[in-house]
C-alpha cells in the first residue's frame, strides 16, 4: 500500500512554512525570490497529491500552468532586480528607501 496522502500534505505544509519564514526574515532580494519558489513548489506538491487522491488529472494540469506562470514571474522579477540593484553595492531590500520622508 502506498503511503497516505496526508504525509505528503504535511510535508508540503512544512515546505510552505519554511519558505514563508525565509521570505519574512531574509533581506536579500534574490533569497526572497528563492523562498517564493519554495512556496510555489509546496503548493504544486499539494496539487499533485490531491490529483492522486481524487484520481483526477486536472490537478496535474494546474501544476503545469503554475510552473509556466512561475517561470514568467521569475523572468520579470529578476529583470526588475537587475534594473534596481545594478547601481547599488548590495542586493538588500533595506536599501530601497528613496520614498522615506
Amino acid at each position: 500500500m502506498n503511503v497516505p496522502a496526508a504525509w505528503y500534505l504535511v510535508l508540503a505544509a512544512i515546505l510552505f512554512g519554511i519558505g514563508a519564514f525565509g521570505l519574512l526574515t531574509r533581506r536579500s532580494a534574490l533569497i526572497m525570490f528563492m523562498c517564493i519558489e519554495l512556496m510555489l513548489n509546496a503548493v504544486n506538491l499539494t496539487f499533485v497529491t490531491f490529483s492522486r487522491t481524487l484520481s483526477d488529472i486536472d490537478g496535474q494540469a494546474i501544476v503545469f500552468f503554475v510552473m509556466v506562470v512561475a517561470a514568467a514571474e521569475v523572468t520579470v522579477g529578476l529583470g526588475i532586480v537587475v534594473a534596481v540593484f545594478r547601481r547599488r553595492p548590495s542586493s538588500s531590500v533595506d536599501e530601497l528607501s528613496e520614498l522615506k520622508g
Binding site: M1, N2, V3, P4, A5, A6, W7, Y8, V10, L11, A13, L15, G17, I18, G19, A20, F21, G22, L24, T25, R26, S28, L30, I31, M34, C35, E37, N41, N44, L45, V48, S51, R52, T53, L54, S55, D56, I57, D58, A61, V63, F65, M67, V68, V69, A70, A71, A72, V74, T75, V76, L78, G79, I80, V81, A83, P89, S90, S91, D94
Partner: protein, 190 residues
Amino acid sequence: MTAVSYAIPSVLIFVTSALLIVVGAVGVISVKNPVHAALSLIMTLFGVAVAFIAQSADFLAAVQIIVYAGAIVVLFLFVIMFLGVDRRDHVTVEPLVGQRAFAAVGVLLTVGGLVTLMARSHWVTGAMSVSSQGTPIATGQGNVRELGTAVFTTYLFAFEATAALLIIAVVGAVLLARRERATQTEEAGQ
C-alpha cells in the same frame, strides 16, 4: 493502521524526498552565500521531483527538473553573478527587533492550522471531476497521455494564454534589464 502496513519502497521514497526537500529548504533560508542558496534550492526541487514521480506525475517531474533546476536556477545564478556575490547580508543581524520571533509565530500558526485542518477533516474521495468524464488517472504507470489530452482540450485556451504570457515576460525582462543609452555614454564619460 500502522506504518508497518505500508509498502517499504513507498515509505523509503517518501523519506528520501522529505529529507531532500526539508534539508534543501532550510539551506535556502539559512546560508549566507546566495550561490549556496541556489544550490540548496536545486536540492529541494529534486526532492519535489521525487515526490512527483512517487505520485505518478512523471511528466511534471521531468518538467520540474528541466524548467526549475535547469532554467530558473540557472537564471538565478546568472543574476547572482551579474550583481556580484553579496557577502554583507548577515544572517545573524536582525535589523527589526522581534521580526524573527513574529515571523516564526505566524508561520507556526499557519502550518499548525493547516495540519489541524488535515487531521480533523476527511477527504472527499471517490468523486470524479466533470471535465475528465470520470476516468481515473493511471496509477503506477505514466499518465502523460491523459495530461496532454487535458491540456490540449479542456485547458486549450489557458495553454494559449500562457504562451502569450511567456512572450510578454521575455520582452518585458529584456526591456527591464537593458541599459539605457544615456547611461552608457555617462559611464563612458566617467
